[in-house]
């Protein structure tokens, strides 16, 4: 069962199969949206929408693998579950290696199919939370002044105020003030908390 706001985007050139799987997912309680080709999906999809992609591997024009590659490069990639008429092992392995959630034949048991979709949706939710948090943090960090950034990176290297002051050529009181300000802006109370947050935001010590 999908969480509110999550959708399964189904991409398949076979209209009949598209209709069948849409019915199954809908009656199983998923929100769905159908697309007849990979390019149609890429053109029409709403950016930032949550969910997963269920795509046919073999399609005329852009095939499933190419769709996955294009999606992976976008800002909001979605987990992909591949379906194929006939599973050939090398293609499946390649798809999984590139990060597909699963690779199933079109006649796979319903349970396997729904489980794969569940996993994909859960992964999307997870990745989405992480992405949201990262974006939040990034916006926090963006509020810091260049001086505060400099101080922060020195702090993360574990240096004392005195050393920082000497290195930056300012007095120790100014360093203290920058530290207080940046900890207030980032809503942290301890140095340990500050370092963890910076790592989470993807900042590097030298940054």
């Amino acid at each position: 069962m999908s969480k509110p706001g999550q959708k399964v985007f189904i991409v398949d050139d076979d209209a009949s199969f598209l209709k069948g799987i849409e019915r199954l997912l809908r009656s199983s309680g998923y929100a769905t949206e159908c697309f007849g080709s990979a390019s149609e999906f890429l053109a029409r999809r709403t950016h930032g929408a949550a969910g997963c992609v269920l795509a046919d591997l073999r399609m005329p024009g852009m095939d499933g693998m190419a769709l996955q590659a294009t999606l992976a490069q976008s800002a909001d990639p979605l987990p992909v579950v591949f379906l194929t008429g006939h599973g050939d092992v090398p293609t499946g392995v390649e798809a999984m290696r590139r990060g597909a959630e699963d690779f199933l034949v079109k006649t796979a048991p319903k349970e396997l199919l729904l489980a794969a979709i569940e996993r994909a949706l859960a992964r999307d939710a997870r990745e989405n939370t992480a992405r949201t948090r990262r974006r939040q943090l990034q916006s926090h960090f963006e509020k810091l002044t260049p001086r505060e950034h400099q101080v922060l990176s020195q702090v993360m290297l574990g240096r004392r105020n005195k050393q920082i002051a000497t290195d930056m050529g300012i007095d120790e009181r100014s360093v203290k003030r920058h530290r207080t300000n940046l900890m207030r802006k980032l809503e942290v109370t301890s140095v340990a908390e500050l370092v963890q947050l910076a790592i989470e935001a993807g900042l590097r010590a030298a940054g």
Partner: protein, 608 residues
Amino acid sequence: MSWITVIWSIAAGVSLTLAAVHILVWVRKRNALGHLFFSVSAMAAGVIAMQELALMHAQTPAEYGAILRWMHVSAAAMVISIVWFIRCHLRAGRIWLAWLITGLRIAILILNFSLSPNASFEEIHALKEVSFLGETLSSPVGSGSAWRVLIHLSSVLLLVYTLDAGVAAWKRGRSRQALLLGSSILAGIILAAIFSGLMVRGILPGPFIALIYLPFVFAMAFELSLDLIRSNQLSGELLQSEKRMSLAARAADLGLWEWNVVGDEVWTNDVGSNRVGASGSDRPSLERYLALVHPDDRDRLRATLHHTLEGSEDFQAEFRMTGADGAERWIAARGQVERDEQWKPLLLRGVSVDITARKQIELELQNHRKELALVQRVSAMGQLSLAMAHELNQPLGAILRNAEAGELFLGQEPPDLGELREILTDIQNDGKRAAEVINRTRSLLQHRNLRFEAIELQELIEQVAALLNMEMQVRQATLRSVMPHGLTKVRGDRIHLQQVLLNLILNSLDALDARKNGTRCIEIHADQVNDGMIELAVKDTGTGIDPEQLPHLFDPFLTTKPDGMGIGLAISKTIIEAHGGRIRAENNADGGACIRIELPVAREETAV
């Protein structure tokens, strides 16, 4: 009994006997008109001999005149028949001269009956007695008719005509006949003129024509006896030749046969009759003979026989007969029709050979070819199996998902019946779609003989394209067919032609893969090249064919592919040739290969 009576009676007898002999010959051989004319002349000579005998014993001038008048009839018959005999026998003489003499003699006859007493005399005053060969005979005393000049003229013309015909025959190498006939007739004509003159002057009792004719009769009798000797010799040679022929026929196991069309009798030599266990002396009618032929071949053979009689071609047929041992035997027969001048068939004569062993080998070969074709077809289909499984799993997956959804819909309160109905319709459609995929391939996996029918090429190409649809998609190639609208149908076996196209397109796909880049296009062009043939060209933009391999391309077990068997093109060639067509390969000027196939157009089925 006087000498005159004896000699003249013998002359009459000889002439009439010879006339009878030749008339009999003519009755047997109606177109041998020479015999008829000779017979008429001999008959006339016989009658003349008797008339002369009566003439010489005439008692009054009136009686003499009347007999001489009737003698003109027989003389005319004799002259005219000699003229036409020369033409028939020597095959020479000018036709206008022949007609002139004929007309002149008829004119003399008309004069003869309109003048009194006849055309020779203006008047016969009296008869005087002449002693000849110790007998007293009557000789006319009177004045000759002025019209006798016509009789002389006809004699001169006959002389010229005979000379001319004799020379012409001599030149054509018939010297003996020319000399014998020419000289005897010439001598006769000259003697007749002299004797007739002597008769009119009262020196001879009659024209003695019967005697004059005798040398001619002997000349002809000599000819006839030569013919007899020759025919005797010929029949001896014929017997020898027949013996040789029958020895050769028996040694070669060659059946000789004749069908007398007019009398409806079939004759076969001992080889032919032993083969079917019939007695050699039996001469069955055609229908009785056909009863020995296999029922499946009987109508066809009968039709071929009648077709031969009507047409101008030689007879040629292969059919089965029940042999003497009850086993089936294959016979090949050839023959020629003998016809009369009106082109009416008289006789069909020919030879027959037992080809059972050859047919058996052919049949085995055909079976092997059939099996090999199936193996190759299955292997070609194997190349498509991945694409086909994919194509089949599409509708099957759709069915499965729909059924699962349907189950869930049923669990809802209240169930959405509209949606359920739609689901069932979709399931049905997908079921049909899956069945179609299977049907398309099933026929290709069956064992089958060549079954010819009229095939529309567009339809054939579409069927193969449907089979290859998924494979083309996966390998990202396009298939295009170009042909004029309303192209004539070809005569062929659908499955086998599909196999050939499948082979060629799969080869082209491999060639496209080997090239890596460039346009990936396969084109099929079809067009009529002449009255009887349609050409189908499969062109690709692939790597083309190595020129060194081009001459051996259709040899079996030649392959350019690492996993190929090398029988695809060899089988394709066998199939096309079994259709009476041709297949060849070339490279396009702008790269890629082109395989050209010629197939015969489908004709309206006509009776064989």
